[in-house]
Symmetry: C2
Subunit: 443 residues, 2 copies
């Protein structure tokens, strides 16, 4: 892994249109009203975790930074906005020079979060901040959802390896981001080559049932695969009869066969039977990889089975029942006037019927008990209490429009292990429950 | 709408790495074994609809055609595959010249489908076809899931307008595809500017709560919005007190106010109250738009409410509980040898434990009763029975590697209305049920 942009089979010259139209119309109206320059503070947070989940996982921070850097307008984009009559000429002129020049703080990638946690805070003029709402939420709502599922699966898998193989179950570019988020959440590799290309994530894969069916016999297929990919390859043994396939696999590849993959049937029972057979054949180091609609519960149920690695597809890329988070991007404070020195005023929606927000620019810290175990997510708008000063969670990501906190995915991945490890042990329970620590608001 | 590529804020010079690694390793092994050239038939189908769903909707066909055309390798991609040691030099040389040269047939976009329906059939050499598996499934599994949700929402909404506003709830590029699929499924517009830019879908949007909170009073905000966007705009009336906001809105914009939007609370009750108030104020033509975690059930429950348009976000882009389909891409027949004249042999996985497939290259037709209502999805590998010849579903999409069936999104959208309209009326029931027509296999 490294932090360099390795390129991508897709280039994103601009992220400026990954935006809801109303951001632009609000901009136009605010420019005309003279309120567009009011200093503003937006916070990204969620009012609740997905039902039953005990913690959330921050992922996508690096992608947000990419999106902010590439949020700019060329002639084509401006021409589209003009031709469609989406905004007026004054607004188009303003957009032509757009560069985000404000500040962004956020929970660092891999950190955990709870209801109310200000996982990101964007500050600048109303105009420059409001435009970023949609794309920031797209990235965080997607990537955090995948990372949370990955983290639960990683907790269930313990020391065993986890392979992300969900590319075919989600949009082709969402798949690349999903592989990235899964890696942050604890997966070890991906089947998705674009994710390897773009983010340097280790890639794996050997063969599918089609390869066996292409050949006249399963033995022909195994021989072809071993001839080309070597004995260390993984042979797929459930196209016809598993027992016969395992025997043929060891006969053809020898006891140095890398692994066998089982993709159907009662994985618990079949894995035990295959392990016994492999051992009897002397293939004691041949590993067993299981795939087939796994989720964190299936992974946990296989804890006692002789399985070496899990391949997870659908349930990973769909967030294991929760394919999106409910992150929102809310104006929490803004200046009383366009005067650069005007004081910030906390603001919040107040209508009946829910969706309440807590106004004001917030700090966040995680209080720990004497054993170092997290005991509360503490948020406030006033001064930070002395014992929490060193426990603050918001890090500087963008300063005056410049990205100041690039880091490698491995850093985020290691941070996640540490952050999850500092939660109460019940965080790892897969059963439904409340957030594992409460959120406390100080004034 | 038009069929021209309007450009996209993202360019996709190649789709070749949106691919699971095993497609490449299978290619390498087959090239070495001399089996890569065997003529092969792959079919895309699903073994089951999502639980309780009565029909599926084909969407993404146009995106599949884009992906196939752009599946090619430049030096950067080949360099990546070489540097990572994913395939050998012989395979790299083969890939350097890759262009899909086979044939693709498929259910036309907007058509409905059922368990077993061969929604797409890809034919050519094993090598050229196997590589396309992942990206074709990514597109169809995502887009069909969104279109199915959209179709149910459209059925529930009747003549009322549906606005797609889910961009912030899913990956930023999945969002563009979701807006496209929603349009095919019956939505009228989207908030996502990239979807307008790329696919010409009508875009809408005016303002959010942040705009109201930016201003010193709600009246200031309304005045600013009307000044800039005109009386025809949509004012968001639930930031503080809805009744006071509606009064202010009509006072400021006049009775020609375009619409008010309600984004929280008991929408049924609030919509009735707001309608009464608007009428009393003389704003009889002012429309009511509702948003706030809507799904097809919420839309149906508002059928008796005075609502003119629904904005749907999360539940649309997450497929209303089913964010992916379970489409698979299976080898169903292949030549007995690499000889170009060798006969096709049906093939299918046979292992115990489910995941059975029906081998053989299939035709598909929808049988209708004397009233023109669909009564069965009929699939077969033999000759097509005479009465079904004119009811066949597979259309030619790619011939000898050339795309031959580009069409506009509006064509797909109209096709969907017709296809859904020809199903038994129970197709429109939102309650859980079996597929609305059975799938019959003829020999």
């Amino acid at each position: 892994m490294n932090t360099a942009d390795l390129g991508l089979p897709v280039s994103v010259p601009s992220t400026a249109l990954f935006t809801d139209q109303y951001e632009f119309t609000m901009l136009q109206a605010a420019l005309k009203a003279g309120t567009a320059d009011r200093r503003s503070v937006f916070e990204v947070f969620t009012r609740r975790l997905p039902e039953g989940r005990r913690y959330g996982v921050v992922a996508g921070t690096g992608r947000v930074l990419d999106a902010v850097e590439n949020f700019r307008f060329d002639g084509d984009l401006l021409g589209f906005l003009r031709d469609r009559g989406i905004v007026d000429e004054a607004t188009l002129q303003w957009l032509a020079d757009y560069r985000f020049s404000g500040d962004i703080h956020g929970y660092p990638e891999g950190e955990v979060y709870f209801p109310g946690s200000p996982v990101m805070r964007v500050e600048g003029s109303f105009a420059e901040c409001v435009l970023l709402e949609t794309v920031i939420l797209s990235v965080l709502n997607h990537d955090c959802a995948i990372a949370a599922a990955a983290s639960r699966m990683a907790a269930a898998a313990g020391d065993r390896r986890l392979i992300e193989m969900g590319a075919r179950r989600t949009h082709e570019l969402a798949a690349v981001a999903a592989a990235r988020a899964a890696y942050v959440g604890g997966f070890h590799s991906t089947s998705d080559l674009a994710a390897g290309f773009r983010y340097g994530i280790p890639t794996v894969g050997t063969s599918a049932h089609a390869f066996t069916l292409l050949h006249d016999t399963e033995r022909d297929a195994f021989r072809a695969q071993v001839d080309s990919l070597g004995r260390g390859t993984t042979l797929l043994v459930d196209t016809y009869d598993v027992t016969a396939a395992v025997a043929a696999a060891v006969e053809i590849a020898g006891t140095g066969l890398g692994a066998v993959r089982i993709d159907s049937g009662d994985l618990l029972m079949v894995a035990h039977r295959v392990r016994r057979q492999l051992d009897e054949l002397g293939a004691r180091d041949t590993k067993i990889v299981v795939t087939s609609d796994l989720d964190e519960y299936a992974i946990a149920s296989l804890a006692a089975a002789p399985v070496d690695a899990y391949g997870v597809g659908t349930q990973l890329v769909t967030g294991s029942g929760h394919p999106t988070c409910s992150m929102v991007y809310k104006l929490v404070a803004r200046a009383a006037s366009a005067d650069p020195g005007a004081p910030l005023v906390p603001v919040a929606k107040k209508s009946a019927g829910g969706k309440l927000s807590v106004g004001g620019r917030k700090w966040a810290a995680r209080r720990r008990d004497e054993h170092g175990v997290a005991e509360a997510e503490v948020l406030g708008t006033g001064p930070v209490p002395e014992p929490l000063v060193g426990r603050q969670l918001l890090a500087e990501l963008v300063k005056g429009g410049e990205v100041v906190a690039r880091e490698s995915l491995d850093t985020a991945r290691e941070r996640h292990v540490a952050a999850r490890g500092a939660l109460p042990v019940s965080a790892a329970q897969l059963s439904r429950g409340e957030p594992v620590i409460p959120t406390e608001y100080l004034g």
